[in-house]
């Protein structure tokens, strides 16, 4: 027993260490390129972590996580533009709005027992519906999108240097790490994984799968909403394609699967590795549009075939491959 609780404490120590080291990056380098890279890697980590809560721990594979990302982004932008609301106040609204959309989609699909590819298709369809709505209704600026005016100040959540944004998104990532840690070391996470592994067996021992999955999708959507709000603050622009298009959905799930589903550090590893790959190929092939998506696809296929547990589970996968060869014909 002491083994389990001390490994939990060690993981918390690792999270603290990670937070301190990454937070120090802007103190070491002033290079805009380096800071931008770290910031974007953290942003990719955040959406992978968000997907991992529902997909990795809950086994509900969403193909439309952009649904929550876009909702957070639009609420963040519209609250400032139409309501004149301070972005720090808009942020919890964006997070809450995304969670509310998660609650709605979850209630609808889990009530009717949608699983596997059916659930994936429903999330994909909802993201597409929201994209079309965002193009059509007036308050989203339609296909033109929304521009948040530039007014640099920390009080306005617009920072003069990338360092401010880096610390902001690092804060989100650390919260997501702590929530993931709690999933691995608490009853809710145990129930969520039980539902993932066998829903009927979980029901037989007193777990209500509907409520557990609903809580998971809300939690997952909330972090996705935070990522959307962050995106708006960094780029000061959002349009329906960016908000609800498939790119964000794919990036979220590929990073989580490549890194290792249902693990603490998998999404971090996956996001960093994919980000490095995307940057390298951009230098090699120039700005070939969509080349990063091709790379993601290839990496995903290779990982699913050779490392089904992702990068975080590389040790176990390799050992099993060896053992398999040893006992094979």
């Amino acid at each position: 027993m002491t083994a389990t609780s001390s490994s939990g404490a060690r993981q918390l120590g690792c999270i603290a260490l990670f937070a301190v080291i990454v937070a120090c990056v802007p103190l070491v380098t002033k290079s805009g390129v380096a800071l931008n890279f770290v910031m974007m890697a953290l942003y990719a980590t955040l959406i992978a972590q968000a997907w991992n809560i529902l997909g990795g721990f809950g086994g509900q594979f969403s193909f439309g996580h952009a649904l929550f990302f876009g909702t957070g982004a639009y609420i963040q932008a519209i609250a400032q533009l139409q309501g004149g609301i301070n972005p720090w106040v808009a942020l919890p609204m964006g997070v809450g709005g995304a969670a509310a959309v998660g609650l709605f989609v979850g209630a609808l699909s889990f009530r009717y027992g949608l699983k596997g590819s059916y659930f994936a298709l429903v999330t994909l369809a909802f993201a597409e519906v929201f994209r079309i709505i965002a193009v059509s209704v007036p308050f989203t600026g339609g296909g033109v999108g929304l521009m948040v005016p530039l007014r640099e100040s920390a009080a306005n959540m617009q920072f003069a240097s990338r360092a401010g944004y880096l610390w902001l998104v690092l804060g989100f990532v650390v919260v997501a790490l702590l929530v993931t840690w709690w999933l691995r070391n608490g009853r809710f996470g145990a129930y969520l994984q039980a539902v993932r592994d066998d829903e009927d067996a979980a029901r037989a021992v007193g777990v209500n799968p509907f409520r557990i999955k609903l809580a998971a999708i809300c939690l997952s959507a909330a972090f996705m909403g935070a990522a959307g709000a962050f995106y708006v603050q960094v780029f000061q622009y959002i349009d329906p394609g960016i908000a609800y298009g498939p790119a964000t959905s794919v990036e979220a799930l590929v990073a989580a699967i490549v890194g290792g589903m249902g693990t603490l550090w998998g999404p971090v590893l996956g996001a960093v590795v994919l980000h490095v790959l995307a940057d390298l190929t951009r230098n090699l092939f120039g700005e070939l549009p969509g080349i990063n998506m091709v790379i993601y696809g290839v990496v995903l296929v290779l990982i699913v075939i050779f490392l089904p547990r992702g990068i975080a589970g590389i040790g176990r996968s390799v050992r099993q491959l060896w053992a398999g060869q040893g006992t094979g014909p």
Partner: protein, 253 residues
């Protein structure tokens, strides 16, 4: 000790044209160890599903500990103290034996560390203590049956519904498992088991119900039930009882 813990009245359920369970009534007394037997396809597992809430009956009522629980979701019944196991075992394959059992413990223990600790005691009770940190997917069939039992037992049920925990085990493994079931009943848990292994039914059960083609055809002590003509014919075919009697009369003559 002889209060009715589970009481079902006129329970029926059809699938299309197949009447899987027809008008079944039975009462399980608190503290008893009883068995539900019958040929393949008799509707035993369907009856379990109706009792535990995995299926809703077309008609009839289920009462547990004095409450009407007809049509309640299984997780609500588990919280009331009725837990079932599955004939086709359902381990949480990605998790260790300890983590599997802890999911059951969590029904009455919120804290993770305490649940993982209590899982050890339950594992000891079913003889899984040496395999606590193995992934559930690495267990043998016998191990998985024990895990299925352990996870249900961890919820501290008042009534345990065991669906063929001995099926698929070799004679040695059956001999190892029987004292485990006996021990659970002796610890005060009411047990109702579906079982094909007659040796176990004869040794363990105080009371037996026989289900054939969705209907109860006999009940009583194991000795009474196995001597019943209707039961013999349900298993071996119409007219068998008479032929067997004639044959044994001829042998003794």
């Amino acid at each position: 000790m002889s209060e009715a813990l589970l009481d079902i009245r006129g329970l029926s359920r059809s699938f299309g044209g197949l009447k899987a369970v027809q008008n079944v009534s039975l009462t399980v007394r608190e503290g008893s160890l009883s068995a539900l037997i019958g040929p393949n396809g008799a509707g035993k597992t369907t009856l379990f599903a109706l009792m535990s809430g995995f299926l809703k009956p077309d008609s009839g009522t289920v009462r547990f500990a004095g409450q009407d629980i007809t049509g309640h979701e299984p997780h609500r019944n588990a919280r009331l103290g009725m837990t079932r196991t599955f004939q086709i075992v359902k381990p949480f394959a990605a998790q260790t034996v300890r983590e599997n059992i802890a999911v059951g413990v969590h029904l009455h223990e919120r804290r993770r560390s305490a649940a993982l600790l209590q899982a050890e005691q339950v594992a000891q009770q079913v003889g899984l203590a040496s395999q606590l940190d193995k992934p559930a997917s690495d267990l043998t069939v016998a191990g998985r049956k024990r895990l299925e039992l352990a996870r249900a037992l961890a919820t501290r049920p008042r009534l345990l519904l065991l669906d063929e925990v001995l099926a698929g085990l070799n004679p040695q493994e059956i001999a190892g498992m029987m004292p485990v079931v006996r021990g659970i009943a002796d610890s005060g848990v009411t047990v109702l088991m579906i079982e094909h292994v007659m040796q176990a039914v004869m040794h363990l059960a105080e009371h037996v119900w026989v289900l054939a083609q969705g209907q109860l055809i006999a009940e009583g002590s194991p000795a009474v039930v196995t001597a019943d003509d209707k039961v013999v014919e349900a298993y071996l075919g119409h007219g068998t009882a008479a032929r067997l009697r004639k044959a044994s009369a001829g042998a003794t003559a």
